[in-house]
């Protein structure tokens, strides 16, 4: 795997292939971040495309190549938030099948990924940045412009919720025929 610093420097000098190689190194991380924050593949694709093009345009603003990972993830999170905000204003017509599906889903054991998806967006973002991007709580605090204590508390609350759901699951499992 090519050195990130060298690739950033080459990309800054106008080597587009170096930029693409750089992004490809982070493709999995970017995909997982977007997938965990958004609802469907189309939105994930849009967010990733916007973030990559934005990073390409703004590469000169990245001062320290060592921070490329957190820098591009931050751009991606902003894009994801824009999509989420836009979707908030869109009324979705409820159809009977969907409602039934949701109700049925509540009655079956939730997979761990579903439990993650059900977390409050603030908790989910903290979890995603901590476990996928690998940021520490200080970096997350800087990225989200929140006090570090708030981030620590969100991570702890998120884990508490997941733990309690996990316990419920284990309890339920004993009674399932």
């Amino acid at each position: 795997m090519a050195n990130v610093n060298a690739l950033v420097k080459k990309a800054k000098k106008g080597d587009n292939e170096a930029f693409i190689e750089l992004i490809k190194q982070y493709e999995q991380v970017l995909y997982k971040v977007a997938k965990n924050l958004l609802r469907n593949d189309e939105d994930v694709a849009d967010a990733m495309q916007d973030a990559i093009l934005s990073a390409f345009e703004k590469l000169d603003s990245l001062r320290n190549p060592a921070y490329f990972n957190t820098w591009i993830c931050k751009i991606l999170i902003n894009k994801c938030n824009s999509i989420l905000n836009k979707n908030k204003n869109t009324f979705e017509e409820l159809d009977a099948e969907k409602v039934q599906g949701h109700t049925a889903a509540l009655n079956v054991k939730m997979e761990f990924q579903d439990e993650l998806n059900a977390l409050n967006p603030d908790y989910k973002t903290a979890i995603v940045l901590y476990y996928i991007v690998g940021m520490n709580t200080k970096e997350i605090a800087e990225c989200l412009k929140e006090p570090e204590g708030t981030i620590k508390s969100r991570l702890s609350r998120a884990k508490s919720i997941l733990k309690s759901n996990h316990l419920k699951e284990e309890g339920t499992m004993g009674y399932v025929q």
């Binding site: 992004i23 493709e27 999995q28 694709a45 990733m48 495309q49 390409f56 000169d60 995603v128 412009k145």
Partner: protein, 342 residues
């Protein structure tokens, strides 16, 4: 139990995922689009925390222009993708020039130029007597200094190996391009747009461009430096610089705008927000919305801190030729302020 959740989170979130076809296709299209784009090479003079941010606007300018001089001006600087400069060109702001000098078998002509307090542009044509010097060349640039009639060095595009003659206080950053390069005829065009985020470029009256070297970069990244002397006069026909000023509608806004002056190429805005913002990305997404719904973003900005305030200066591609009466400056996470034309 927390350890179990921790482990489960690590396992779930770090397992390799297969990227779905829709996403895969979009990513491949994105890479193709990047392969076909040319990134503008930027140089930043980073004395006060300059950020080179993305330059993109959603402004559309109609080019229903037939005047040859105006069209030539637009063609020279259109590759910079700066809608403010394009609007200035449409309105005849770019000046023609025919100042030239020859040395070391290279003739350099300054073909056109423009300047206001926020931005200046120079378009050169170089002609190599021996065209083979341009074989396998990726791009060509110059080491130059631009000095005005008062002897002040306004812009110096000089490598670190040479000392500056001025104090580099006027220019925040510049973009350089070769729109075309012909190794058969030995001719190459070299265009520069430099800007001052603080709107501090003085008039170019009786200015001279002192060119010290031509840099020829090969496709493999090797540099051939040709030293010489090419002094080009900038015959600046003093045009009355049309300006327009805007002031805050609500003086108690969280964003305190101290200056918003539109010049022919751009709107220079300086504002203060309470507190010290260390993270420059806070301002990377700031934008202005005009009364027709057009959005304008900056090409970069300068950040300073003073008396527990963060002070930002930037140029937006809204020109004094625009007829907008109201503008809204918006900074995500901080707030917005309405600006009214005086």
């Amino acid at each position: 139990m927390f350890n179990n959740v921790d482990k489960k989170l690590k396992n779930t979130l770090n397992k390799q995922e297969v990227i779905p076809l829709t996403v895969r296709q979009t990513l491949d299209e994105t890479y193709d689009s990047i392969r076909n784009q040319k990134r503008k090479r930027k140089r930043s003079v980073n004395r006060t925390g300059l950020i080179a941010a993305a330059a993109s606007t959603f402004l559309i300018i109609g080019f229903a222009v037939s005047n040859d001089t105006v069209m030539a001006g637009i063609n020279k600087f259109i590759n910079f993708g700066d809608k403010g400069i394009e609007q200035a060109a449409v309105n005849g702001f770019i000046q023609d020039s025919d100042s030239w000098a020859t040395d070391q078998g290279i003739n350099i002509t300054l073909e056109s130029h423009f300047s206001d307090a926020n931005k200046l542009g120079l378009s050169f044509q170089m002609e190599f007597e021996d065209p083979s010097m341009l074989l396998n060349t990726a791009d060509v640039s110059m080491d130059y200094r631009l000095k005005n009639g008062d002897g002040e060095y306004i812009d110096e595009f000089i490598p670190d190996t040479k000392p500056l003659k001025g104090d580099a206080s006027y220019i925040s950053g510049s973009t350089h391009q070769n729109p075309w390069l012909d190794s058969k005829t030995g001719r190459v065009q070299y265009d520069v747009v430099a800007e001052s985020n603080e709107g501090a470029i003085p008039p170019l009256k009786n200015a001279v461009i002192e060119i010290e070297s031509i840099n020829v970069f090969s496709n493999t990244g090797e540099l051939v430096k040709i030293d010489g002397t090419w002094n080009l006069s900038v015959h600046n026909k003093e045009k009355s610089n049309r300006t327009a000023t805007f002031t805050m509608q609500n003086e108690s806004s969280v964003i305190q705008v101290s200056n918003a002056t539109a010049n022919p190429t751009s709107l220079n805005v300086s504002f203060a927000v309470g507190g010290i913002y260390e993270d420059e990305n806070t301002f990377a997404e700031m934008k202005i919305l005009d009364d027709k719904g057009n959005e304008y973003e900056t090409n970069g900005f300068t950040k300073k801190t003073k008396n527990n305030q963060t002070i930002i200066s930037a140029n937006f591609p809204i020109t004094s030729f625009s007829d907008s009466k109201k503008l809204m400056l918006m900074i995500e996470g901080i707030g917005e302020v309405e600006l009214v034309k005086n």
